[in-house]
Amino acid sequence: MTDNTLELQQEEKQFSLAKDAFDRLIANKLALVGMLLVVFLFFIAIFGPYITPYDFLSQDLMARNQAPSWAHWFGTDDLGRDIMSRVIYGARTAVIVAFSTTFLSLIIGIFMGSLGGYFGGKVDGFIVWLIDITMSVPSLLLVIVINVSMKPRLVNWMDEQFLLTGNEFYRNTILVDFVLVFGSLALIKWPKAARIIRGQIMSVRNKNYVLAAEAIGVPTTKIVMKYVIPNSIGPIIVYISAALGEAMVFESSFSFLGVGVRPPIPSWGNMISDGLRVWQLYPHILAAPAAVLALVTIAFSFLGDGLNDALNPRQWK
């Protein structure tokens, strides 16, 4: 073997673990489909308002309940609003709620989980107890209770603030819906994140390389940042992917029941709810948001499975 080929082989060996994981993810066809759909969803959510053919609120009473056509790809609803525009705007609602919920639940989860995992003992016992209690509360019930008890107060408070300060920000009561939805969802969902992070920290903390780093005097903050977190990140990424999909389904269910995002702001959930009343006459009003919701859920689940395989070292060949 000449020096040249040896050099070449060594160059080939130079790859980063992240790139390696990405390659494995791409190689998995279902995961690739899931990822493309998710990327498309995010694109739609961000740029939706610029690409929708119609405004999501503009009504055209001359064109009510129209079946899908070239002018209205998904048809129109009972007020003559373009369903495709509303579905696209609903993606924005879903993505906002999903991201805020996951972000909030991760923050609470990371805080609680690392506290329990790192300190152990009584602190851990308390946190596990808290996790168990939170998980045992029916989520639907909790959201309804929070919504009913908090919403009037919040709206009143915002009205007062508007009167006091005259700031336009406080007139936007739609904000209350959003805050309540992802606030209460985060309250329900943090235990799952906390459990994963607690378990990860507990196992990584006892790894030999952490001990080895301690033995050369690496400061604790650096050990956490460079040794513990990178080695715990795999399951957390998988959790994020699963949680995003789950949060969208939750948001839709709550909006469907009328405790989430309320009309006229479109959410797939309240669109399905609207469509349900007339589905025997105009099935497309129900079908469009339902199909999109199903597709997105499946996409996140494919992506989650793919990530799980790609990031799990035991699966590496």
Binding site: Q10, K13, Q14, L17, G120, N206, K207, N208, Y209, L211, A212, A213, E214, A215, I216, G217, V218, P219, K222, K226, Y227, P230, N231, P313
Partner: protein, 339 residues
């Protein structure tokens, strides 16, 4: 020679579900500059825990209850967390048992090597990398500049152990604690690592504590051997003394159980009967007494102190913790003990 390390009456225990596990019970020894000490004993005899206690690299459940660890006059047992962090890596280096799991799989070799010295010596990344490359060369890793940019999984077990050794040496410590560094390696690599350590010791003139359960490995390598049993030191002597003139019944048993080239094929290897001591109770007597063929009544009542042997002028630096003089008493099988 000047004294580097002095350990006095070290006690370490672990908090367990209902009570304590007494892992180290009064270990005392000294180590000179440039000296190499072998620590031998069976699994669970406290050899690792006692040496880890020196730099307090212990799990949260462990606590040092008594004793002093004087490294150049500084008492490490009472040092603050930040003081001990400075000592780790810059004055005392550690080499671990399992090189396969001792490197962070998500960090390049170079970054991992540099992490300690960048902090201790306030070096820039480039300087630290240069230093790391130098030490990789020193431990016999070829193409070191290139290796710095590789991940641990791209190296073999022997190479990783060399990297671990480089990591321990990088801070230019005066004392290196090697905790069974060859146990996880195959025999040829084991020999290479032993040779490497011997060589490095001469080049860098550092003190080494080599922990092992393999007495035969230490021959021709260390200056002095310390035999541990049940959390305390039972015998300590220069290496030739230990092999030629063992005085503690446990050491005698250990030496007998090493297979030699003269052992008849198919014959049973001698072993020490009985089980290791129960460390959940604080020892009140000689820990080896229940398994000892030389046992006397006194052995089950009092803990023998570690003292020079009776005829110490003929055998300098030889200390044992035993009430019985094995040169004068014959071994006789006792209940529960066979030798």
């Amino acid at each position: 020679m000047t004294k580097l390390l002095e350990v006095k009456n070290l006690h370490t225990r672990f908090k367990v579900r209902n009570g304590y596990l007494y892992a180290v019970n009064g270990v005392s020894f000294t180590l000179d500059k440039g000296e190499m000490l072998g620590v031998v004993g069976e699994s669970g005899c406290g050899k690792s825990v006692s040496m880890m206690s020196l730099i307090r690299l212990l799990p949260p459940a462990a606590q040092i209850t008594e004793g002093e660890v004087l490294l150049e006059g500084q008492d490490l047992a009472k040092a603050s967390a930040s003081e001990i962090n400075t000592v780790r890596g810059s004055k005392v280096g550690m080499i671990f048992q399992d090189p396969m799991t001792s490197l962070n799989p998500f960090m390049k070799i170079g970054a991992q090597l540099c992490e300690g010295i960048m902090y201790h010596k306030k070096m820039s990344r480039a300087e630290a990398m240069k230093q790391a490359a130098k030490y990789l060369d020193l431990v016999g890793i070829s193409n070191s500049e290139h290796r710095l940019h590789e991940y641990p999984h791209q190296l073999s077990g022997g190479m990783r152990q060399r990297v671990m050794i480089a990591m321990a040496l990088l801070g230019e410590p005066e004392l290196v604690i090697a905790d069974e560094p060859t146990t996880a390696l195959d025999v040829t690599i084991q020999a290479q690592i032993v040779e490497l350590v011997k060589e490095l010791r001469e080049k860098l003139n550092m003190s080494i504590i080599w922990i092992t359960h393999d007495l035969s490995l230490l021959a021709g390598m260390v200056d002095r051997i310390m035999v541990m049993y049940g959390g305390s030191v039972v015998e300590e002597a220069p290496i030739d003394e230990i092999y030629k003139n063992p005085r503690h019944p446990y050491t005698i048993g250990l030496l007998k159980s090493i297979p030699s080239i003269n052992t008849v094929a198919g014959s049973r290897l001698p072993s020490i009967a009985g089980a290791p001591p129960n460390l959940f109770v604080e020892p009140q007597s000689c820990p080896f007494a229940p398994r000892c063929a030389y046992r006397q009544e006194r052995c089950t009542r009092e803990i023998p102190p570690l003292e020079p042997v009776a005829d110490d002028s003929a055998h300098p630096k030889h200390r044992i913790a035993c009430w019985v003089d094995v040169t004068k008493v014959n071994a006789e099988p006792k209940e529960g003990s066979v030798l």
